[in-house]
C-alpha cells in the first residue's frame, strides 16, 4: 500500500466551524476519508478532472492522485461490479453513480452482489462500499435526473441507506458511511447542493440508524428526509404563525429506520404526516406510516397522512413543481390530521 499512503494528505482541521454548501461539505468529508485511509478509492463517471457534474469531487484527483480518484468508462453495472472486486481485494470503494435514474443499470450488481456478498460468504467477504448517489428532484433536470430510489434500496436486505438534509449532516453521515464495514447507499439531495450553512467539522456522534428532531413541536410530527426536510421546516414556520406547532423529524437513515424515534415523537404529538418525493404507492412513506401506527396505535388521533409525489413518472421542468409535495399540500394534510 505504500504507493497509496504516500499520496495521502493531512486531514481537515477538526472541530472548526466553517460555512459550506452541501456539495462542499461532501467534498470536505471525502478529503478527510481519502487522507485518513489509503484504502479509500473514489471513482465513477467524470469524478476525476471534471470533479463530478456537481463539483462534489472537485480537486480530489489533483490532491490524491489519479490512482485513488479516477474516471471509469460509462457503464454503471461495471462500476458497482468493480467495487465488489476492489472490496474483495481489501479496498474501501466510494463509487459515484452520476444520477439516481442511472442507478437502474447497476441494480443487479447492487442487489444481487453488493448487498449480499457478506451474507453469501458468511462474513468472509465484507463489502465496505459507499455508493454516492445524487438523488431526488427539484432542479428542473432532464429525464431520469430526478428520481427517488430509497424504497428499493430500503427493501433490499444487506444495504444501509442514508439521505442527509443539510451540509453538516452530509459531512458527518458520509464519514460514518464510508467508515462502516457494510454497504451504504448515500443519497445526496441535489436540490440542496448549493445550500450554505455553518458546518462543524466534527466526528459524527449519533449512531447509524438514528433520526433527529430538526424542530420541536407538539401538535403533529412531520417526517421527511433529504430536501423535503427543508420543505417541512418551511411548513412548520408557516403553521407557527397560526399557532400550530409542528415537530419536524429528519429520518435521515432510511435503513435501518429509527422506529423508536418515530414512535417517541408521535406518542407526544398524536399526529403525523410523512412527506417524500417518490411516488405514493409502495413508497417509503407506507413503511413510516406503518411503523408509527404499530407503535402508537392507541395514541394516534388520525391516520398518518402521506404527502408524496404522484404515481406518475417524474416530469419535466414546469411540471416538476406540480409533482413534488408543495407547501400547500403539506399544510392541507396537517389540517386534515388536526381536524380528523
Amino acid at each position: 500500500m505504500t504507493e497509496l499512503i504516500e499520496r495521502a494528505a493531512a486531514p481537515d482541521p477538526r472541530g472548526e466551524t466553517v460555512e459550506l454548501s452541501m456539495q462542499q461539505a461532501i467534498n470536505r468529508a471525502l478529503r478527510v476519508l481519502l487522507a485518513e485511509d489509503p484504502k479509500v478509492l473514489v471513482f465513477g463517471e467524470d469524478v476525476g478532472a471534471l470533479g463530478g457534474v456537481f463539483r462534489v469531487t472537485d480537486g480530489l484527483q489533483k490532491e490524491f492522485g489519479a490512482q485513488r480518484v479516477f474516471d471509469t468508462p460509462l457503464a454503471e453495472s461495471a462500476i458497482m461490479g468493480m467495487a465488489v472486486g476492489l472490496a474483495m481485494n481489501g479496498l474501501r470503494p466510494v463509487p459515484e453513480l452520476q444520477f439516481d435514474g442511472f442507478a437502474y443499470p447497476a441494480i443487479d450488481q447492487i442487489v444481487n452482489q453488493v448487498a449480499r456478498m457478506n451474507y453469501r460468504t458468511r462474513g468472509a467477504a465484507p463489502m465496505p462500499i459507499t455508493l454516492r448517489l445524487p438523488s431526488f428532484g427539484g432542479i428542473q433536470a432532464p429525464e431520469h435526473h430526478g428520481e427517488s430510489l430509497e424504497a428499493l434500496f430500503a427493501h433490499t436486505p444487506g444495504l444501509k441507506v442514508v439521505a442527509p438534509s443539510d451540509p453538516g449532516e452530509a459531512y458527518g453521515l458520509l464519514l460514518q458511511s464510508v467508515r462502516s464495514d457494510d454497504p451504504v447507499v448515500y443519497m445526496e439531495p441535489k436540490a440542496r447542493y448549493w445550500d450554505r450553512r455553518p458546518v462543524r467539522l466534527s466526528e459524527p456522534t449519533d449512531p447509524i440508524g438514528t433520526s433527529r428532531i430538526v424542530r420541536p413541536g407538539r401538535h403533529a410530527t412531520l417526517v421527511a428526509w433529504g430536501a423535503m426536510v427543508h420543505q417541512c421546516v418551511r411548513v412548520a414556520e408557516l403553521a407557527a404563525e397560526d399557532g400550530v406547532e409542528l415537530e419536524v423529524l429528519d429520518l435521515r437513515w432510511l435503513k435501518p429506520i429509527d422506529a423508536a424515534g418515530l414512535v417517541a415523537s408521535v406518542s407526544r404529538t398524536k399526529r403525523a404526516v410523512v412527506v417524500h418525493e417518490a411516488p405514493l404507492t409502495a413508497g417509503l412513506g407506507a413503511e413510516v406510516a406503518t411503523l408509527i401506527t404499530d407503535g402508537c396505535f392507541r395514541e394516534l388521533a388520525a391516520p398518518v397522512q402521506r404527502v408524496t409525489g404522484f404515481d406518475v413518472p417524474y416530469p419535466a421542468g414546469p411540471l416538476e413543481s406540480q409533482y413534488l409535495p408543495t407547501i400547500d399540500r403539506v399544510l392541507l394534510a396537517v389540517q386534515r390530521t388536526l381536524e380528523y
Binding site: G48, D71, F102, P105, A316, G317, P318
Partner: protein, 345 residues
C-alpha cells in the same frame, strides 16, 4: 480518414453525389447549425434550462439520416440528434420542446415521425432498435432501424447485448456511433478499449465501417450502403463516424476543466459545413449565390422554429396523469383529483 488530431488542412469531395442531394445536405446542415446557435442563445436568455449542442456533428447526423427512408424506416435517437431529426423531417418545434423542458421526450408524435422519443439513458434505446428491426422482419416489412449512440454509450452493456442480438437474428439495424471523441469529460482512450467501435463489429460477425464523420458525403454513402444491405436481408452494420464535440458537453458543462481547448479549436477549423460548402462549389453543384440563398432560407427557418418553441404553451398539469396508462386506474384518477384540489387551484 482524418487523424484523430486533425490538422484542419483537409477537404472533402461530393462529386459522386447528385447536385440535388448535396444541396439538400447543405440546407439541412445549415439549418441545424442556425438552430443550434439559436438554441444556445435561448439557453443564455433563460428560456431553455440547458441545451446540448450538435455543432460540428451536423455532417455525421445529416449524412446518416438522409440515407434512410422516413416512410418505412425508424430512428432511435439519444438526446443529441437535433440535426438528424431535422434532416429526417421531424416537426422541429416539437423536437426542441424537450430543451425547454416542456416534455422529456419532446412534443412531436414519434410514431408519425418514425423517430423515437428523445432518450436520456445512454445506451438504453439501442436494444429498442434491434427489437424494432426483428419485428420488421417478422412482419415481412422492408424497414430498417437506425440506432444513434455515442462513443461513451459503447461502454454500456446494453449496446453489446443489442449487437449480439442483431447478429444472432440478422436484424435490419444500423448501429450508428457518433464518435465525437468525448463522453462528457472522458476522452476515447479512457473509454473505448481498443480505440474503435467499428472494430467491435467483427466480434459479432457483422459489418463494421469507420467513416470520416465530418465528410457528409462519405457518411451518406456509407449509411446508404448499410441501409441497402439491411433491406436486402444482409443484416446489421456498425458505422463509426469519427467527429468531434467542439462545444462543451452541454451548456451546464465547463470543458476547460478537462481538455485542451486548442484541440477543439483545431476541429472547429475542420468544420463540416465549411468543408461541404467548398466541395459544393468545387463540384459545380452550387455557386455562392445559390448557397447564400440557402443560408438565408435556413436562417429564417431556424428563427421560425426558435420562435415556435419559445412561444409554445406549457403542458397542462393534468397531463401528468393522462399519459401514464392507456387504461387509467381508479387510484390515479383519485390522485388526479387531489392534484386538481390541492395543486392546480
Amino acid at each position: 480518414m482524418p487523424p484523430r488530431e486533425s490538422t484542419g488542412q483537409d477537404s472533402i469531395t461530393v462529386e459522386h453525389l447528385s447536385p440535388e442531394l448535396t444541396r439538400r445536405l447543405y440546407r439541412d446542415m445549415r439549418t441545424a447549425r442556425d438552430l443550434d446557435t439559436e438554441a444556445i442563445a435561448l439557453q443564455r436568455q433563460g428560456v431553455f434550462p440547458a441545451y446540448v449542442s450538435v455543432r460540428g456533428q451536423e455532417a455525421a447526423q445529416v449524412g446518416g439520416a438522409t440515407a434512410l427512408d422516413p416512410t418505412r424506416d425508424f430512428v432511435f435517437p439519444t438526446y443529441r440528434e437535433m440535426a438528424a431529426a431535422l434532416a429526417y423531417g421531424v416537426e422541429m418545434v416539437g423536437y426542441m420542446a424537450t430543451h425547454r423542458a416542456l416534455w422529456h421526450g419532446g412534443l412531436y408524435d414519434v410514431m408519425d415521425a418514425r423517430f423515437g422519443a428523445i432518450n436520456a439513458v445512454v445506451g438504453g434505446p439501442v436494444p429498442h432498435a434491434v427489437g424494432w428491426a426483428i419485428g420488421e422482419r417478422l412482419r415481412g416489412g422492408e424497414g430498417v432501424a437506425m440506432a444513434y449512440f455515442g462513443d461513451g454509450a459503447s461502454s454500456e452493456g446494453d449496446v453489446h447485448e443489442a449487437m449480439n442480438f442483431a447478429g444472432v437474428f440478422t436484424a435490419p439495424v444500423i448501429f450508428f456511433c457518433q464518435n465525437n471523441q468525448w463522453a462528457l469529460s472522458v476522452p476515447n482512450h479512457r473509454q473505448v478499449a481498443g480505440g474503435s467501435i467499428a472494430a467491435r463489429a467483427q466480434g459479432y460477425g457483422i459489418e463494421g465501417v469507420l467513416v470520416d464523420g465530418n465528410d457528409v458525403g462519405a457518411v451518406h454513402t456509407a449509411t446508404a450502403k448499410a441501409v441497402q444491405r439491411a433491406r436486402e436481408g444482409g443484416g446489421p452494420t456498425v458505422i463509426e463516424a469519427l467527429t468531434y464535440r467542439v462545444e462543451p458537453h452541454s451548456t451546464s458543462d465547463d470543458s476547460a476543466r478537462y481538455r485542451d481547448e486548442e484541440e477543439a479549436a483545431r476541429w472547429r477549423e475542420r468544420d463540416p459545413l465549411t468543408l461541404l460548402r467548398a466541395a459544393l462549389v468545387e463540384a459545380g453543384h452550387a455557386d455562392e449565390v445559390d448557397l447564400d440563398r440557402i443560408d438565408a432560407e435556413s436562417a429564417e427557418r431556424a428563427e421560425r422554429i426558435r420562435d415556435g418553441v419559445a412561444e409554445a404553451p406549457e403542458p397542462h398539469g393534468s397531463e401528468l396523469f393522462t399519459h401514464v396508462f392507456r387504461e387509467t386506474t381508479e387510484e390515479l384518477t383519485r390522485q388526479h383529483r387531489t392534484w386538481q384540489e390541492e395543486v392546480e387551484l
